[in-house]
């Protein structure tokens, strides 16, 4: 799958046409190590030097290449967003697995699609770019990836239901920007907040309805 999607170029404030695709390969993972990781580390060092440790992403030394064997597993789906010849975001979802069941009382046990990994290129993140004295380049990458997860959920007959564990520093993104329902903290996953969509909420997110 390869589809055109609009994202925002912060320099102009205008919409630009990016590409979202699902044929993610190990070369894309290598690209993140070569292009993303050095910037994340540089920004993390700056934040540490300023004493802003709480702003350092917990996954700052994450390595996508270690997940190469998971590309072949059919239960997984990977999505990437490309613009200006650069990878702008990457996501891995699971369609089957221990987290692929709903926990909201009104839909408990029903199948959902789980967002296992999601990362936006560091030059698109305000916190990291501010640490480097720069401005973030492109916006709406995270929303587009969540949108892809919801659309995949519908393809899998899960009616748009998705679930994920949020890190503390991203709870606001899922609650306010994506309007997911916070269900509760999961002791099996470091007490991270579990959020999910009902089919109605998923549809509202896709259409922009409130």
């Amino acid at each position: 799958m390869k589809t055109r999607v609009h994202i925002i170029d912060n320099t102009t404030g205008q919409a630009v046409e990016a590409e979202i695709f699902d044929e993610v390969t190990v070369e894309h993972f290598i690209e993140t190590q070569q292009e993303w990781r050095p910037i994340v580390l540089k920004a993390a060092r700056q934040l540490a030097a300023r004493g802003s440790h709480q702003l350092i992403p917990q996954h700052f030394h994450w390595d996508w290449t270690t997940k190469a064997p998971e590309l072949k597993v059919l239960a997984n789906a990977f999505y990437g967003i490309r613009y200006d010849n650069q990878l702008q975001g990457l996501m891995k979802i699971e369609t089957v697995g221990q987290f692929c069941s709903c926990r909201l009382p009104e839909q408990v046990d029903k199948a959902l699609v789980y967002v296992d990994y999601i990362e936006v290129a560091p030059w698109n993140l305000k916190v990291l770019m501010n640490a480097l004295g720069e401005k973030p380049r492109y916006n709406v990458i995270g929303s587009r990836l969540i949108e892809a997860a919801v659309l995949k959920s519908k393809e899998e007959d899960c009616k748009g239901r998705i679930g994920l564990h949020s890190l503390p520093m991203t709870e606001s993104f899922y609650i306010k920007t994506c309007r997911m329902t916070p269900v509760g903290r999961d002791p099996a996953k470091q007490n991270l907040l579990w959020l999910e969509y009902t089919p109605e909420q998923a549809e509202n997110f896709l259409t922009g309805a409130r």
Partner: protein, 156 residues
């Protein structure tokens, strides 16, 4: 897949998202798993260095004599001994395996050149690494530990 192409939706999402940080718990768990694997790799690496050291002392060799017996570079042997982050060359590991009469692939794992998911292998490496003391002469206990560990590497 039909993505939303409404400019109003895009504008609204842009305002809400505002280039905020986006991540999920899966990344952090996986990073922690990787750290645990790295710690286990460190234990294996310690066992590898200990194996080398005890073997040299068992044969009552200096490092220089040992490197000649193994037919490997003395400088590399010293790097292995002193620098935990140093990754030996496959040739060196093969030479050591040949000298010890143990399967080379086992030493590849121990030295950090390859990864393993074998629980028994990791546990044995940890036990061996914990057992020896830094003294010049091999004690009978160290001698036994070395003999046992080499036997284990050959049998598994």
């Amino acid at each position: 897949m039909k993505f939303n192409s409404d400019p109003a939706w895009l504008k609204k999402q842009a305002s809400l998202e505002d280039n905020c940080f986006v991540s999920v718990g899966g990344l952090v768990s996986a990073v922690e798993d990787l750290e645990q694997q790295t710690q286990q790799a460190t234990a294996s690496r310690t066992a590898f260095v200990k194996l080398l050291n005890l073997t040299r002392r068992e044969h009552k060799l200096t490092w220089e004599q040992f490197s000649q017996k193994l037919d490997v570079d003395l400088a590399e042997l010293m790097e292995i001994e002193n620098d935990e982050s140093y990754k030996p060359t496959p040739r060196t590991v093969t030479k050591i395996a040949h000298f010890l009469h143990v399967p080379a692939e086992k030493l590849f794992i121990l030295s950090g050149l390859a990864r393993v998911h074998d629980r028994y292998f990791k546990e044995a490496a940890l036990r061996f690494a914990a057992r020896s003391q830094p003294v010049k002469e091999l004690s009978s206990e160290e001698h036994e530990a070395l003999k046992e560990y080499v036997k284990f590497l050959c049998e598994r």
